[in-house]
Symmetry: C2
Subunit: 191 residues, 2 copies
Amino acid sequence: MQKVYLAGPDVFLPDAAEIGRRKKELCAGYGFEGLFPFDNEIDPTVSGEDTDKLIYRANERMIRRADLGICNLTPFRGVHADAGTVFELGMLVGLGKRVFGYTNVADDLLARCQRLDRATFDPVQRLWRDANAMTVENFGNADNLMIDNALIDRGGHKMVRHAAPRDRVFHDLTAFETCLRLAAEAVSKSA
Amino acid sequence: MQKVYLAGPDVFLPDAAEIGRRKKELCAGYGFEGLFPFDNEIDPTVSGEDTDKLIYRANERMIRRADLGICNLTPFRGVHADAGTVFELGMLVGLGKRVFGYTNVADDLLARCQRLDRATFDPVQRLWRDANAMTVENFGNADNLMIDNALIDRGGHKMVRHAAPRDRVFHDLTAFETCLRLAAEAVSKSA
């Protein structure tokens, strides 16, 4: 049975354990074993090592054990995806694993920067700049071009975008399940 | 000569080419060849392929060619590091390269979440939550624990933190040069 690493800011939810349980249940329905990083939570009383270092190492081991990754790239604390998830996506790609990703906010990065980061058009250079005058990519991607294109090159699919209800942005699993379906198809084709 | 991949949101600056030139000059002073992703800028008129895909592939090739990476992890569009840079840090780690990182904002992730994302203390669970009730890590790290600990495990050093003047946050190269010094020491030790 192929193992799927379940990356996402889901681990920061008050009901993280429940979300992890539901994701792993959905994985099983598609013939996968789901690996949820929250299961690596370390008891700080049992070791002299720093808790965060132990979590890092446990997550890294889990990523290495996985055959593929499904990443929740929903914008987190701003216009971009969660930094921890993006790091793990990069590591999965560096390790040559197949990757899939989804977001529960459907619009482009540029639209979010216009809405949340006062992006304006620079008529001289003919490009968009954020509040710090930094260029905003305008390729129609959901996030930084490295993220969107890694998914296309290393999983065969664009980031799955789903406009979840506002109060369900970190709980809606519609797009996650679409990724599971795409992953199952990819695995069966290469089997 | 060892090659250093220069990851960072520097590529989005109006004077990106000039910053790249200065970083490569500093690299040369420490015996490194600097690889700056902006040099991969693609002329969209010469190819039928999507520009963003060509940039992705050129950056990925550059990362694979590098012996190590120095990542500018200064907070970008919010409390976390730039998503593209974090992706590249993950890829460098997955590929087994040595990594170093710096930030030009000296405070902890928690302090930034308190200041910018209305983080409050949950007295029942005894942890900090951001405006969306998502847990804020409180390990004294500069960013997500995956980022800080990847640098320690795969480069041997904590993220270099430097309180740059407010108007120099994306231009100050003090901490970048500290990373170069640490990288040069590491390379000479393992030679």
